[in-house]
């Protein structure tokens, strides 16, 4: 089980070390400057939401944080070290869950993939798989194939597989974008509960501004063409969040207005 990364008890007054740091990062792909420049620190244990108009490079920024891309300029660091390749401590939840799951393995088999890779012996795997599936609400569906499951269930399965890595950081790329509104809200709350219990850091990319405010401790708004940071907004709303109460909170509405104006101005 991952230790809550908040346990950075320092006696000296230095700021909490950024878990992921973007240090003047720029990326040119296919001759186009997708990102130019982003400097950003992700605090351990926080839920950071990234929003922006289309073309702002938010998915690209996430893939840089995952180590799937290498920056053309600048450095992406994980816990101080420059990232040259993806790391097991960083799990990625892709938007197209159907393509990120193995169709020939059952739900249990898909979760097992992550456990096999970290070298867990077979005897222990079964118990851990059951635990993880229960955690995402898929207990009893262990023998189903992904094609037999609904979109929401498949996304939960992907999250379970990511949790099997015991990640310190969860990178989520519009994970609920392809789902209907009710499923989406249910998964939002489930995700908040999961994150609270595991203490993982989350970077959550979304185009849904209300979702960003609802979930996040901080919201970063990117400007498009090329991508750069335009707005950093701390979210001072009480936790635990509630779908009705939080969304009616006056501070929520104020933040929403600010974010809407930012996006509209940047398009």
């Amino acid at each position: 089980m991952a230790e809550p990364a908040l346990a950075l008890v320092q006696s000296s007054p230095s700021p909490a070390r950024a878990q992921i740091a973007f240090d003047n990062v720029a990326l040119v792909l296919g001759g186009k400057a997708i990102i130019d420049t982003i400097s950003l620190d992700v605090t351990p244990g926080e839920i950071l939401c990234v929003v922006g108009a289309s073309g702002c490079g938010k998915t690209t920024a996430l893939r840089l944080a995952a180590g799937l891309y290498q920056p053309t300029r600048g450095t992406v660091r994980f816990e101080g070290e420059a990232m040259r390749a993806p790391r097991r401590e960083i799990a990625v939840v892709f938007q197209d869950y159907g393509k990120a799951l193995l169709p020939w393995r059952t739900a249990a088999g898909n979760v097992s993939l992550a456990l096999e890779t970290i070298g867990m012996p077979a005897a222990q795997r079964e118990a851990r798989i059951a635990e993880l599936l229960a955690k995402v609400g898929l207990a009893g569906h262990a023998t189903k194939y992904p094609t037999e499951m609904s979109g929401g269930m498949q996304q939960r399965l992907q999250i379970a597989r990511c949790l099997a890595q015991d990640p310190k950081v969860l990178l989520m790329d519009e994970p609920f974008g392809a789902l209907d509104a009710m499923t989406r809200q249910g998964l939002q709350d489930e995700m908040l509960a999961l994150v609270a219990s595991t203490g993982a850091t989350v970077v959550f990319v979304t185009h849904d501004l209300e979702e960003a405010i609802y979930l996040g401790d901080r919201v970063v708004g990117l400007l498009p063409h090329p991508g750069r940071v335009g707005l950093t907004m701390p979210i001072d709303l009480p936790r635990p969040r509630d779908q009705l109460a939080t969304r009616e909170h006056p501070e929520f509405l104020r933040l929403r207005r600010e974010l809407f104006d930012f996006i509209r101005a940047s398009e």
Partner: protein, 255 residues
């Protein structure tokens, strides 16, 4: 199995049996000379005779052995080579166009070349069968490996999977449907080439059996041999179908 399905199946057998009866009538009435068309009774008798006192069994095993060896070699080479080519974009660019060019070539044309090198021998037959069966399998495997969902490769990178693990846990299962489809085709090719090589080189097998029976105008033996060849074709197709069904169970399930 639902009752109606069983009933239809029985009716279908009935129709087939009816056609056999017609065949028997035609043979009895000598509508076609018995030199060319033996009745099913004579063909069946020849079949039994061949297995009990004759050497039909050794001929059958001969063909099956030729097929098996050739197809096995083709499978190993085809899957290994296909995996290498299919998973490397660079190799595909260099190699795939040439393979596409060679695809429509009738593979039996390699027989005279093989004879030139190896003579009318067992070795020639094995080479031809292996070479001929290789192509559908190679092309199918390349296609399967080339079509692996790229997102899964990214998942593998994030999970830090070893190269071997990626091949066996992601690429191979993903390519399995295409590989199996290629295997189906290559089994068919193996049977055809085995028969042709046996005919040409006089090797121990059903190809030789049917040709000699024809030359001696022993039509009952000839038909018995042809039926056996049909049985081989049928059984291998059935076996492949069962293998596909078992390995590709996940494709069948739908929400």
């Amino acid at each position: 199995m639902r009752w109606s399905a069983i009933a239809w199946r029985l009716a279908s057998f009935g129709v087939a049996a009816g056609l056999i009866v017609l065949w028997q009538l035609a043979a009895d009435q000598r509508l076609i000379s018995p030199v060319f068309l033996p009745g099913p009774d004579r063909a069946w008798a020849s079949l039994l005779r061949g297995f009990t006192t004759g050497d039909l069994l050794t001929k059958l095993m001969g063909t099956l052995t030729h097929m098996a060896y050739g197809w096995l070699v083709a499978s190993i080479v085809g899957i290994a080579l296909g995996a290498m080519i299919g998973s490397s974009r660079a190799m595909r660019i260099y190699v795939a166009p040439t393979l596409e060019l060679l695809r429509p070539l009738p593979v039996s044309a390699i027989i005279p070349v093989a004879i030139a090198f190896l003579g009318l021998s067992q070795g020639m037959a094995l080479f031809v069968i292996a070479f001929g069966s290789l192509w559908p399998l190679l092309l199918g495997t390349i296609h399967g490996f080339a079509a692996v969902e790229p997102r899964l490769y990214e998942v593998a990178r994030v999970l830090h999977m070893s190269r071997l693990a990626v091949i066996f846990k992601i690429a191979l299962p993903s390519a399995a449907p295409d590989i199996l489809a290629g295997m189906r085709l290559s089994l068919t090719v193996a049977l055809i080439l085995a028969v042709v090589c046996e005919m040409l080189a006089g090797l121990n097998g059903l190809g030789q059996w049917v040709l000699l029976s024809a030359r001696a105008f022993r039509s009952a033996d000839l038909f018995a041999g042809v039926m056996l060849l049909g049985v081989i074709g049928y059984v291998t197709a059935l076996a492949m179908g069962a293998a596909e069904h078992r390995l590709l169970r996940w494709q069948a399930v739908r929400r």
